[in-house]
């Protein structure tokens, strides 16, 4: 297919043989074939399956599943959990990132905290669930210490419900916020603050008129990323809550393991489709915001 390549005297682009145009694509085929099978195909199976009846014919009736009480409440709970944990994570993580931005960039404090954050942002899942059960579960260390100090045993059932999920999710949302927001804070130049002061601006003016507006797109885009992160999370909640399925991701678990009695074979696919749509919308907003944020931060 590829004739012996003429030496470099051939000017680039000029005089390419017609057969070479396709030949030059050949080395990229394995990659695209692979992602086709293991990424694109599963996604298509979900999307197509969401609109297929039990007989395989096209139908919209699966979508009525989205209006059942359990799915509706799971959707609302997931949206609420994602929003609350994203905002909490963004505020606390943002403060921590600011603390690091004002520290010596080569210093030990910043390097250590960043390393810790990059680990914790990845380590959700079973280990995290066990961490919190060990801390504030019924026989948890914190529970025990509080008992020893005050003589009262705090209730621990909330750990396995919505408030517990918010707390546990904060554990990976805060570090993620630090990682995604710190570059924006590093983009703020000290000269801007000096310029504000030279012109007579106070700290308040600086934050509301200069730094705030510049950081806002980056902050909003970080919140969106954290939202999508919480929305897609599965492992932590799955390890923490094994009895009920209060989240969309857990509803999918129920559908896959056949717990949900339903005459529709494609329940899991409809739920998965709903998740993809919501995450896609959030990520599209994220990409748009990110473009606006990059105007100032490079």
């Amino acid at each position: 297919m590829t004739a012996p390549v003429a030496p470099a005297v051939t000017p680039a682009g000029g005089g390419r043989r017609r057969g070479g145009r396709l030949g030059v694509l050949a080395p990229t085929v394995p990659f695209f074939l692979y992602v086709g099978i293991f990424l694109v195909l599963p996604t298509l199976i979900v999307v197509v399956g969401a609109f297929q009846g039990n007989d395989g014919a096209f139908t919209l009736s699966n979508l009525s599943l989205l209006n059942t009480p359990s799915v509706r409440s799971a959707t609302l709970t997931t949206l609420g959990l994602s929003a609350i944990s994203a905002v909490t994570g963004a505020v606390i993580g943002g403060l921590l990132a600011y603390a690091l931005a004002t520290a010596d960039p080569e210093g030990r404090l910043r390097r250590t905290v960043l390393a810790v954050c990059s680990v914790l942002a990845q380590f959700g899942g079973v280990m995290l669930a066990f961490c919190f059960i060990a801390a504030i579960g019924r026989n948890g260390s914190v529970t025990q210490i509080l008992f020893d100090l005050t003589g009262t045993r705090i209730t621990t059932a909330w750990l396995y419900e919505f408030p517990g999920l918010v707390l546990v999710y904060a554990y990976f949302q805060i570090p993620l916020m630090v990682i995604v927001f710190l570059p924006a804070l590093d983009g703020i130049r000290p000269q801007w603050r000096e310029a504000t002061e030279t012109m007579g601006g106070s700290t308040w003016t600086y934050w509301t008129r200069v730094a705030g507006p510049i950081l806002m797109p980056a902050f909003v885009s970080s919140v969106l990323l954290l939202f999508a992160n919480a929305f897609s999370a599965y492992a932590t909640a799955a390890a923490l809550i094994s009895q009920a399925n209060p989240l969309l991701a857990l509803q999918i678990r129920g559908a896959l393991s056949g717990e949900v009695v339903s005459d529709q074979q494609n329940t899991a696919k409809v739920l998965a489709f709903l998740m993809v749509v919501i995450v896609a919308i959030v990520m599209a907003l994220y990409a748009w915001m990110q473009r606006r944020a990059s105007r100032w931060i490079r």
Partner: protein
Amino acid sequence: MTATLAGITETPPDQGRSLHAGRRRSQRIFRWAIVTLVLLFFAVPILSLLDSSSRLRGGGRDWSAWDPILQIATSSDPSSGLIREGLLNSLLLVVATLVLMLLLLIPTMIWIRLRVPYLRRAMEFICLLPLTIPAIVLVVGLGPVYRRVADVLGTGSVWLCFIYAILVLPFAYRALDAGLDSIEVRTLSEAARSLGASWGTVMFRIVLPNIRTAVVSASFISLALVLGEYTVASLLARRNLQTAIFLVGQNNVKTASALALVALALGFVLLFLLSLVSSRTSRKATP
């Protein structure tokens, strides 16, 4: 406004400096306060793992829950069996995923940069796609695909590497892309080509050695991800380290706590090594 301006021009330089010093001091107090608080929040659950893996109900310590882990090779405890199986599978998965990921990404990325740059956008888009498609969604669609895989290759847990290579794609791609950005791939390859090197030589003897550190960081991050993966493994009913922790936790919470602590420590070490590697490159880049 004018008054303030006048005031500032009249301020002796000394006072300006002390104002800055004051701000710096309050910044330092704020910095240590927030860092301490958040690190405490990070540390308490992890320390609780250690504490509750050994605390006895009436007080005192008993480390026997660590036995199935410490004597993992010899113990006949059912927990040990689960851990052995999960750990072995996870290590196999790490190797398989790394090989697959590097083979898929590096040649394609270099080739696209050199010969078909118009595909770069498409490749980037595809590589970042797994960030937008939740793993739980992929699992739903992977059911039929993995039934095919099982027909051909069997149901061994190691074949999870196919999907793990997809899951690590965004992180590995970014690391490698940054590495390729930092060298002049085109200039290097044109120089090599004009001296008569083949495309294979360009790839493996010119470009690859120059992006060694990027390869290392892509590998570390993939390693950490594979060791921490639970969603796909548990829903496709395969066994790895994380499903082992979960299963052990069903019967023996103390041992599961100990195991989670070991896995967490392992991840810490790996990612700390990663940050060492990447900080060394950035120092090299700016002499």
